[in-house]
Structure formats: structure tokens, C-alpha cells
Symmetry: C2
């Protein structure tokens, strides 16, 4: 019987990040990560399909964004619904407590081509999840795809700003501003 391990996914992600930074991604095995986290290899594979995935949290983010879009007020425009999704990301993922972890994670990903590839594919998955959630609200196909792409770009810009800011602004607030900026820029295209 598998034991229930509190916060196993998060402990594994932190252990992986430490090891990738200490000895490099290539020189770290799944067993190393599990050991550092004080867990077994099978616990690792219950949470993540492979070594790359440990920094990407499985499919949690897609579900989070899709649920927030579904829960946005019926009167919300597509980009307003996307703003609700980015708010949710700010509450659950890009929190003040996780800012340092997030910045270290980003540095490790940037330094490793395999992780950059996984991140690029994850990004496409998030865009597709947002577009599907918008379509379920009755947004036409093409508009849903455009809104999801603009939302992903705003999220990337908000993330850059959030990493640099010294103010107390949360990710959600910064993301709303980024969405407004991106939307204004479409008129200048």
C-alpha cells in the first residue's frame, strides 16, 4: 500500500530544483530527487511522468485556469474571463511565498534545453486549455484562440514584471495591467 505523503509533489519539486542547481539537470536522477525529498521512487512516479515534469506540476495549472474561466461572470468578455484565470494563478501559483522558488526554477529551466522544450509544450497546453474553456462559454473558435494567445502573452509579460517589481503588487494585479497593455497594443498592429 502506498503511504500518503503530505505535499509530496512540492517537496519533490524543491528537491529537484536544489539538485539541478547543485550538480546540473543531466547529473541528477529521479532516485536522487526522491531521496533528497525523503520519498521513494514510486511516489515520484505517482506525481510526475518523468524527470522533466517535476518542475511543471503535472496538469494542475491547466485545470486551475480552465476552472477560473468557467467561473467568471457570464457577462465577462473573453479577456475578462482570462483575467480571472490569471488572478487564480496569482492566488495559487505565483504567490509572494513562492516568488523565490519561482525565480530559481526559471533560471534552471532557462539553462537547460530539455526543460525549455517541456516548458514550451506546457505553454501550448495551457493556451489550449484556456481556449477550450472559453469555447465552453460560447466564445467562437477563432476568438477563443486569439484571447487565449493574448492571455498567455500577458501572463508571460506579467511574470517578467512580477519578478522585477519591488512593489507589493500581486501577480493578479500585474497580470490585469499586462492584459490591458496587450489589448491596447493589438490596435497598433
Amino acid at each position: 500500500m502506498a503511504r500518503w505523503e503530505p505535499n509530496a509533489a512540492e517537496r519533490l519539486a524543491h528537491a529537484a530544483l536544489d539538485l539541478f542547481a547543485e550538480r546540473g539537470y543531466e547529473n541528477t536522477t529521479v532516485i536522487d530527487i526522491a531521496q533528497r525529498a525523503g520519498l521513494g521512487k514510486s511516489t515520484f512516479f505517482r506525481h510526475f511522468q518523468d524527470k522533466r515534469e517535476v518542475l511543471f506540476g503535472g496538469d494542475t495549472m491547466s485545470g486551475l485556469l480552465a476552472e477560473a474561466i468557467a467561473a467568471a461572470p457570464a457577462t465577462a468578455t473573453p479577456l475578462e474571463a482570462v483575467a480571472h484565470a490569471l488572478d487564480a494563478a496569482g492566488r495559487e501559483v505565483f504567490t509572494p511565498a513562492r516568488r523565490e522558488f519561482t525565480a530559481r526554477r526559471q533560471a534552471v529551466i532557462a539553462a537547460n534545453p530539455e526543460l525549455r522544450e517541456r516548458e514550451a509544450l506546457k505553454n501550448l497546453t495551457l493556451i489550449a486549455a484556456m481556449a477550450e474553456a472559453l469555447k465552453r462559454r460560447g466564445v467562437p473558435d477563432l476568438t477563443a484562440r486569439v484571447a487565449a494567445e493574448l492571455g498567455a502573452l500577458a501572463s508571460a509579460i506579467a511574470y517578467e514584471r512580477w519578478c522585477r517589481t519591488t512593489a507589493d503588487d500581486g501577480f493578479g494585479e500585474i497580470a490585469r495591467q499586462a492584459l490591458d497593455d496587450v489589448q491596447a497594443s493589438t490596435a497598433a498592429c
Copy 2:
């Protein structure tokens, strides 16, 4: 001394595609691909950094798009400059003669997670190359990023339509229509 091999990159890509379809991506080595193309392993590595890359043509596409954006008339809006880039892609890459190859290539990529990851990263590289080319025309940073994202989305939509169309329309024409559709959709976001 390395011999000059005419169309080596294209021969390698065709050989790889045949082998991936016949025996699967995992069961094909770089040596298999080079042999099937009648070339040596060293010729493979002069053209491509690894096995994944053989279906992505190195950095040819980024250069092609950036040059076309640079060569667009000075009066062109950002998205008009992007339309020039997609025209160039239609003349050089998505040609009628390459339509069947392109469709087979897409099916092989869709079936393999490693290739899908490389494709996702390539897509980010193309978006970055277009955004940089637009900035060199004096387009402000954020507008350049938005135009490049919208251009990439239009290109993806155009590609889907081009694969399905039975008409004689070239990729460039279809891409211009897709760009118009995407731009019109931004107003409904």
C-alpha cells in the same frame, strides 16, 4: 575534407520521415537516417544538432521570416510586415510540391512527444525572431511581441486551412486571410 552533398538537409529529412513512419522515432538512429539518405553520420551533424532537429530544418525558417520582415515596405504596419514573412514561408517552405511531405511530417510530430516538444520550442524561436525583426523596424517592444504572436497564430490557422483546402490557393494567400481573421477577432476579445 567534407564533400559537398547537394540537398543533404532535404534528403536527410525525407529519409528520417520515412524511417520514423516505418519503425517509429524511438527505433531510428542518426546512423540509420544518414545511411538511408546515402550520406555519412558527420554530414548529418553538419546540418542538425540531434535526431529531433532533422524535421525542423535548423534555423532556416527564423532567418527567412526575419529577412522578409526587414524587406517589407517602410510603410507596412507590423501585421503587414508579418504577412510578408508568411508569403516568404509560402514561397520557400509551404509550397505545393512540399504539401504531401509537410502533412506526413506533421503526423509523425503529432505522434511523438519529444518531437512535439521540439516543435513547441521552435515555434517560440520563430515568434522571437519575428518580434526582433519588427523591433529593428522601430516597432515598440510590446507591439512587436503582440504582432509576432498574432502572426504565429495566423500561420498555424493558415497551415490547418492549407492542409484541408482543395482549391489552388497558395499558403501566402491563405495566410493573409488568416491574418485578417485573427486581427478582426482581437476586436471581439
